[in-house]
């Protein structure tokens, strides 16, 4: 008797809570048949801009149209030759209609398809364009988020493609000669070494392991140091001189962090990184494709790996989206917000069918820790590696990074993660330029464009 009632309760729970996410899977063949009865709804930007819509061509066939062409290629995706991005993740909403019953019956009588619901996203075409232009000709990715809510305001990946012609270009896009991997959404699916941006977590671990005494940390940088049989040097062998923890981060001093790395308890470092979702699933919305970041250091790792990992090299890998999440956590006082792309679902006649709310993914650090890291990241701009981000009208907190991906030290990806205004963060930027060169210059310039653009609007 109790079992029966429990069964009914579970069944109801499944139908109310769980089923929407479950059925919205590419394994569910039913999704395809919905399109026989419903015209796929529109995907819209934050302010109602049409990012994707279905129109009829001259022969009366339904065609999916993407007015912004390449701009939203990865974020919105395509629904021809397979289905990706929001077209896939929000497919269930787009192919369901909440049109009022009368109109539905009317359409049924006239044997006209019902229009599907429209999906309003968190994407802001203005910011998307800023990010797109900031990347310029480089391959790479950029994610812009709102730290307090987890809304993804922009998500760009390059090289890109034109979703309007994806079918026509398909052969080329997937051909072996094309090594660009245009279809890959690097923002969520690209894994890169975090480079010096990782020093934020190394710093946090050091603070946690040395409560009350980390403020006394001092290191005399001589531009290079030896560990074991190897040499670690700072960028351009620059001699930073006497540094405390704040200035170590501000100047991104490799030798200082290498020294810190040797003192850290590796198991607790490992668990800190896992609490920041390395090796873990990210709290992304259902249906969003991404790759898990990895952090392999633990108590059994050797000296070289410890040192390399502490400065963000080694075998650590992270996606631009994940780096944005970590930065947003700092900006948001220690609470990670689950990122999301769909703001609400509207019926064709404009009624809100479903509203998505910001959701916390957990308190990952204390407000004090977040404030300390923010303070350090402000020092990066005001006293450290990124003076070009200084501005009179807003204060940026950030961290640059160059991620070496080959033995040739000249070849590296350029990172920037940061947010502004530092005291009351409105946007978080995570941007990477593949092969962008060492130091932070390319990435800093790009970030500058984005912040300038955002605050001058």
């Amino acid at each position: 008797m109790v079992m029966f009632l429990a069964t009914i309760a579970y069944f109801s729970w499944y139908l109310v809570v769980k089923s929407k996410d479950t059925i919205n899977s590419s394994y569910n063949a039913r999704l395809n048949t919905f399109s026989e009865k419903v015209v796929r709804g529109e995907i819209r930007g934050k302010n109602g801009e049409v990012l994707a819509r279905t129109v009829e061509d001259s022969e009366g066939n339904e065609v999916r149209e993407y007015p912004y062409e390449n701009l939203f290629a990865h974020a919105v995706g395509y629904s021809d030759s397979g289905i990706t991005g929001l077209e896939a993740a929000a497919g269930q909403y787009l192919l369901t209609t909440h049109l009022n019953l009368l109109d539905q019956v009317n359409n049924e009588m006239e044997e006209v398809k019902n229009p599907g619901d429209n999906v309003v996203t968190t994407l802001d075409p203005y910011l998307q364009q800023l990010a797109y232009d900031a990347l310029g000709e480089y391959n790479g990715a950029c994610v812009i988020m709102e730290p307090g809510t987890g809304k993804i305001l922009a998500m760009v990946s390059k090289p890109d493609f034109n979703p309007n012609t994806v079918s026509a270009d398909w052969e080329w896009l997937i051909s072996e000669e094309n090594t660009d991997a245009n279809l890959l959404n690097r923002a969520a699916q690209g894994l890169y070494p975090p480079g010096s941006t990782f020093k934020l977590l190394t710093t946090l671990e050091y603070i946690r392991e040395n409560p009350g005494t980390w403020e006394n940390y001092q290191y005399e940088c001589e531009g290079s140091m030896t560990y074991g049989d190897s040499v670690m040097s700072c960028y351009n062998n620059h001699v930073h001189g006497l540094l405390d923890l704040r200035l170590s981060l501000a100047n991104s001093c490799n030798t200082s962090f290498a020294t810190i790395g040797q003192t850290l308890n590796l198991d607790s470092f490992h668990s800190l990184c896992e609490s920041f979702l390395f090796n873990k699933e990210l709290p992304v919305p259902e249906g969003m494709e991404y790759k898990k970041s990895s952090f392999v250091l633990d108590g059994s790792s050797g000296l070289s790996e410890r040192v390399q990992t502490a400065i963000g090299q080694g075998r650590t890998m992270i996606s631009p989206l994940h780096n944005a999440l970590i930065t947003a956590t700092i900006a948001n006082g220690g609470t990670m917000m689950s990122p999301y792309l769909v703001e609400r679902v509207e019926s064709p006649d404009g009624k809100v069918v479903k509203q998505f709310m910001p959701q916390s993914a957990g308190k990952l650090m204390t407000a004090d820790e977040a404030a300390t890291l923010t303070n350090f990241m402000v020092a990066v701009v005001n006293e450290g590696t990124s003076p070009s981000l200084q501005s009179d009208s807003y204060q940026v907190a950030g961290k640059t990074g160059s991620a070496e991906f080959s033995s040739n030290k000249e070849e590296s990806h350029a990172w920037f993660v940061g947010f502004a205004p530092a005291e009351n963060p409105e946007i978080v930027v995570s941007i990477i330029y593949e092969n962008g060169g060492t130091g932070g210059s390319v990435a800093t310039k790009g970030a500058k464009k984005i912040f300038e653009g955002y605050f001058s609007r």
Binding site: M1, M3, F4, A6, T7, I8, Y10, F11, S12, Y14, L15, K18, S19, K20, T22, I23, S25, Y27, N28, A29, R30, T33, K37, V105, E108, M109, E111
Partner: protein, 483 residues
């Protein structure tokens, strides 16, 4: 246009099954004959109307007019079944008869929608099974010596299950059935569960000494172990649960109940460790996405079906239940939920629950230990089967691969369910007879007293115990007599 008709029929059927369910529970709360008759009338109206609506939708959608004759054949079957039961067994539980018809009606509609050919074959098997099972109540009622054959039941059960393990063909990774020709396959575990219940009831009816309990447990465990070895885990679990509950009813010993449950838990962990297919089932239950194209496929398809149908359902032919593997038998609940809707599916669970309540009620009602254990054992089997089936389909528990009584496709399942319900009906009739006889004796007694008073003036009549007249009723150890 057809779509509108389909949608309208969907809502009609939804309303009808809700009314039916309401009437069912009214029946359970009502005490008077008049009220109960009215509730039964309501049930029958809803059943016929739902059946008609379903077939109208099928005929309209497919344009297959032969389906009309199939529909008529079913109406004749239901009517004959109802009438014959009324004629032969006036005192039978109408609730169970009506529920049987309702569950079958839903089953026929769904199976016809999934494929008329197999539905027709299933209908023929069902009709035959119903006809055969018609004699079950009278056997139970007349053959008062059924309790004498304790070891014979065990022998039949163990031999049948053993034979299946030794000679049968493998289907869905388990040794389940004998194929008889190409037409028919026999699944002994469906029938052995009935002899199993009779065996346990016979053993405990004469004694519940420790020795007897041990001996019976060993024989019962043999049943279960053969099933485990045949990889028929769902059946093994059902037998186990049923045995535990019957043991508890017979002995009233919580020690046995909890000890048995603990032993069962340990055995489950062992099974998990030893059998890879158990591990697969559990893993798939925990995370079906891990192997979405392989082992997780079935449960995911089931969840897609249920989820896509939602509360109101897609309407007949508007979903894709055929995407769910074995949707006709083990996973029919997913198909029903998809096209008839979640509310309809819950109503279906409630109807099954009302059958279970009736079973349990009869069990507590029976005086003789033998009959009491039988009723309780059958209730346990029925309840466990419904729970394991639906729980498995909706991923509440790991899927065990068993049928939903009266709803799933499958001859053995239908036949054994008919027999189970027939036995319960037999017990119900026995009890009704007894009640009537007591009532009659009381009336007689009252009349005699009145006569006595008339003749000899006021004075007490010789006290007579009205319940004395029971003959040959195997009333167990003489306890539990209510008089």
């Amino acid at each position: 246009m057809t779509n509108i008709v389909i949608q309208v029929t969907k809502y009609i059927m939804l309303v009808l099954i809700l009314l039916y369910t309401l009437a069912t529970y009214r029946y359970l709360t009502l005490k008077t004959h008049k009220g109960r008759n009215r509730a039964c009338g309501m049930q029958l109206f809803c059943m016929y109307a739902l059946h008609l609506t379903g077939y109208l939708a099928i005929i309209l959608y497919t344009g297959d007019h032969t389906m009309f004759y199939f529909y008529l054949a079913q109406v004749v079957f239901f009517t004959l079944y109802l009438v014959l039961f009324r004629v032969f067994y006036k005192k039978a539980s109408r609730l169970l008869i009506n529920n049987t018809c309702m569950l079958l009606a839903v089953s026929f509609i769904m199976l016809t929608r999934l494929g008329p050919e197999r539905a027709i074959r299933h209908f023929i098997v069902t009709a035959a099974a119903a006809a055969v099972a018609m004699v079950v109540p009278v056997i139970v009622k007349r053959m008062r010596y059924l309790w004498r054959f304790g070891w014979l039941y065990a022998a039949i059960g163990i031999v049948a299950l053993g034979a299946i393990f030794a000679f049968s063909t493998v289907k869905h990774g388990a040794y389940l059935s004998f194929d008889i020709g190409n037409l028919f396959s026999l699944q002994p575990s469906e029938f052995v569960k009935i002899t199993f219940v009779f065996f346990v009831a016979s053993m405990f009816q004469t004694s519940i000494s420790f020795k007897r309990v041990v001996v019976t447990t060993v024989a019962a465990a043999t049943h279960v172990l053969i099933l485990v070895a045949s990889k028929d885990l769902g059946a093994a679990l059902i037998y186990f649960i049923a045995y535990l509950l019957m043991l508890f009813v017979a002995t009233k010993s919580y020690l046995y109940l909890f000890g048995g449950a603990a032993a069962g838990s340990i055995a489950s962990v062992l099974a998990y460790k030893v059998f890879s297919h158990v591990r697969v089932r559990v893993q798939v239950w925990k995370d079906p996405w891990m192997d979405a194209n392989g082992d997780g496929w079935q449960i995911l398809q089931s969840l897609f079906a249920i989820g896509s149908g939602g509360w109101l359902g897609a309407g007949l032919y508007q979903g894709m239940p055929e995407k769910v593997p074995v949707v006709r038998s083990d996973f029919i609940f997913a198909g029903i939920s998809e096209e008839f809707g979640g509310i309809f599916a819950i109503a279906l669970i409630l109807i099954c629950l009302s059958c279970l309540l009736q079973f349990l009620w009869i069990s507590t009602w029976m005086d003789g230990m033998f009959y009491k254990i039988i009723a309780f054992g059958l209730a346990a089997i029925y309840g466990a089967q419904v729970f394991l089936n639906i729980g498995g389909v909706i991923k509440f528990i790991p899927s065990t691969g068993i049928t939903l009584p009266f709803v799933s496709h499958g001859g053995s399942s239908i036949m054994s369910t008919f027999i189970m319900f027939g036995i319960i009906q037999g017990l119900y009739i026995l009890k009704q007879d007894e009640v009537d006889r007591i009532e009659k004796e009381r009336q007689l007694e009252r009349r005699r007293q009145a006569l006595y008073a008339q003749r000899y003036g006021k004075g007490p009549a010789g006290p007579r115990q009205s319940g004395e007249g029971r003959r040959g009723n195997p009333s167990g150890r003489g306890t539990n007599k209510k008089g």
